[in-house]
Symmetry: C2
Subunit: 201 residues, 2 copies
């Protein structure tokens, strides 16, 4: 009796699916079964979508975004405001801000945060490139949209120090009550920030 | 500004990943990013694992199990007890029972449960085949390991009626407290069943 009564191809598929974020061993098995049952409409299309994405993905040399072209669709878009560069930790943050659809500027993806404990220093991030971009005459503002975590804020302070003396405005995201958020569920730090930054009604 | 600032290949990948059980739109984006970042070690291997599984999967003509060979590895295993046929709803149930590793017999995968509301009748399940198997002289016991849901138990009763008069023992799984389960979290039906079926200590 084997613990997985299926062929090696299916076991391999389950092992790889289990490495996706959000899928554990059990949900990877469920996902594999769904794929197998929907061979024509899901399994084979996903196989070719993966192969196509694997062949097409490029990292934007200017901003570090992931796209199927370089420069990426954001950097290549002539309607974008080239005076504003928004610094984010990861491509997922860029995607999140694009879904909000209000930035209108360009991005700069660091690829992580400074973390001495994990041995991640300035040279491991897409940082020198940012200093260069911030010196370009068309850039007027650098918005540090890093996560409100210790690592994110440490990295933001480091970048602020590095950009010190350059002729750019440095800004950060506002703290406050999330839209739709209930006060009762918010932490004290967020509430304090929202009170300090209160606005006329 | 697009809501998804990435190429069509990446958007297609996200759409397909979002159709896997356990992944919603947000986690599909996270999964796509992980895949893209681990192109060599995850994305390309997963693409070929899907293609390989897609080419290799077969449904066992005897029991309905999914494997890369027909008859499946369970049916083909000479060490299996051919007198016992365990009826399950789905291949995932077969996998779960195999992980427990105590059955030792053969399986029969119905491919669902009877559901008049959803228009699923006996002919939509792998049922006639089961009646045939139960008549084979070597089969002594049919274990109905269907889910303890209304649909599962309705289907079990239907199968019991159909097997009535054949020279096979029909059994079902025991009800009781799950191993490691806390009484406080169990429903009254399970507790009542565990009390009725109590065992000498």
């Amino acid at each position: 009796m084997s613990s997985q009564p299926a062929g090696p191809e299916i076991e391999r598929l389950i092992q790889l699916l289990a490495r996706l974020p959000g899928l554990g061993p059990r949900s990877a098995r469920r996902a594999a079964l769904r794929l197998i049952k929907k061979r024509e409409t899901l399994l084979l299309p996903l196989a070719s979508a993966l192969a196509a994405a694997g062949a097409a993905i490029k990292v934007c040399a200017q901003c570090g975004n992931i796209d199927t072209r370089d420069p990426c669709s954001v950097c290549a878009d002539p309607r974008r405001d080239r005076t504003l560069v928004c610094v984010v930790e990861d491509v997922s943050d860029l995607w999140a801000l694009e879904r909000a659809g209000v930035l209108g500027g360009l991005y700069h993806v660091l690829g992580g945060t400074l973390s001495p404990l994990e041995g991640i220093g300035p040279k491991d991030l897409n940082l020198e490139n940012l200093i260069g971009r911030a010196q370009a005459p068309e850039v007027k503002e650098v918005l540090l949209a890093l996560n409100a975590t210790v690592e994110g804020q440490t990295t933001a302070h480091y970048i602020m120090d590095r950009l010190h003396g350059l002729d750019v405005k440095i800004s950060k995201l506002a703290h406050g009550v999330p839209v739709g958020g209930e006060l009762d569920y918010l932490d004290e730090g967020t509430l304090a920030a929202a009170i300090r930054a209160r606005q006329p009604f």
